[in-house]
């Protein structure tokens, strides 16, 4: 067995037929979870919702850039600088989590598409070539 095959077999063992069998909701087999199509769609939607929530937080965090030190004295400037560093860390944290959630949603979508035999990305790409009038306005 080649390394690639071994790796593939390992993944299959870990996933325990996650995407290859329809099962009843909540069935646990050999320490792994199994999901049906509906579950997967819910999971994808939850990841997207989470990503959107982080996105909203990011928009609000950027708005905090409008806030400035109340005066030019040392205490005000030092406090503002510390607050800005904290704000920057928060923005990086939120941005990282947003990207992570989006990636998880995409991974789950790809897995579901693979199971269903649909190439979702291709579907989206094809829809992009559709006449402008047939696509959403925004």
């Amino acid at each position: 067995m080649s390394n690639g095959q071994a790796h593939h077999a390992n993944i299959q063992t870990q996933l325990g037929g996650m995407f290859t069998t329809h099962t009843t909701d909540g069935t646990i087999t050999g320490g792994t979870f199994t999901y049906n199509e509906s579950d997967m769609r819910t999971i994808i939607n939850n990841w997207r919702e989470l990503a959107d929530s982080y996105d909203n937080s990011l928009d609000r965090a950027h708005r905090l850039a409008r806030i400035e030190p109340p005066a030019e004295d040392f205490a005000s400037r030092a406090h503002a600088a510390a607050a800005n560093r904290s704000g920057d860390s928060y923005k990086h944290y939120v941005e990282h989590n947003r990207d992570y959630c989006s990636q998880q949603a995409d991974l789950c979508q790809k897995a579901l598409d693979h199971y269903l035999g649909i190439e979702q990305n291709n579907t989206i790409e094809i829809s992009k070539t559709a006449p402008d009038g047939s696509r959403p306005r925004i």
């Binding site: 996105d55 609000r60 409008r66 005066a71 829809s127 959403p136 925004i138």
Partner: protein, 210 residues
Amino acid sequence: MHPRRPLFLASLLSLALTSGCTIPSKGDPLPAGSSDATAPHTSSTAAELPYAGAPKVSDPLDTSTYEKDPCKSLTADQAEYLTLPRTGRPTENEVLGVGCDWRNEQTRGDVQIVFLVDDPRGLSPEYDADKRGEWEYFEELPNIEGYPAVIRLGTDDRDIGHCTVVVGVSDDMAFETILRLSKANVGQKDPCDKASEVAGMALKTMKEGA
């Protein structure tokens, strides 16, 4: 004991300075990075707007109705035209303002309009933040419906279809149009063009309702 005297005096001075900071006094804070750094920091900012290079709004628009209910900023027909739900939902836990969200769950296209009512300085802080290098992307736009506007992005996410346009409707009031393109339009349409278009539609609604 003598070598400790300077330390003692420094402590007293530090205490005096620190306690001075705790005495409340009336007045609005001025932004430290504003171009008018020599202005007294206890004066009212109302007379000093705009600053930091922000354009003056020559014909202020009364948006008080829409500040109370931002979901009126787009009519049901306008929202439908944009492939959004006909009614928006007020946003929760908004920062510095009040907002409304129109979101299409199917296409994942999304528009939010937020009035910055808790920071009544119009576009000035956006220009000021730009001078401080706060934005990854900042662009002054041609007037939208006669009002000055900018694109300002803390994180430049245009490649994934996100953009924010801020419009100054008066020297002390601005609203944000935050737009996320639907998945099918990412890479196909310019999110900032669409955000400007939506801001223009909202301004038309506000003008008619003013």
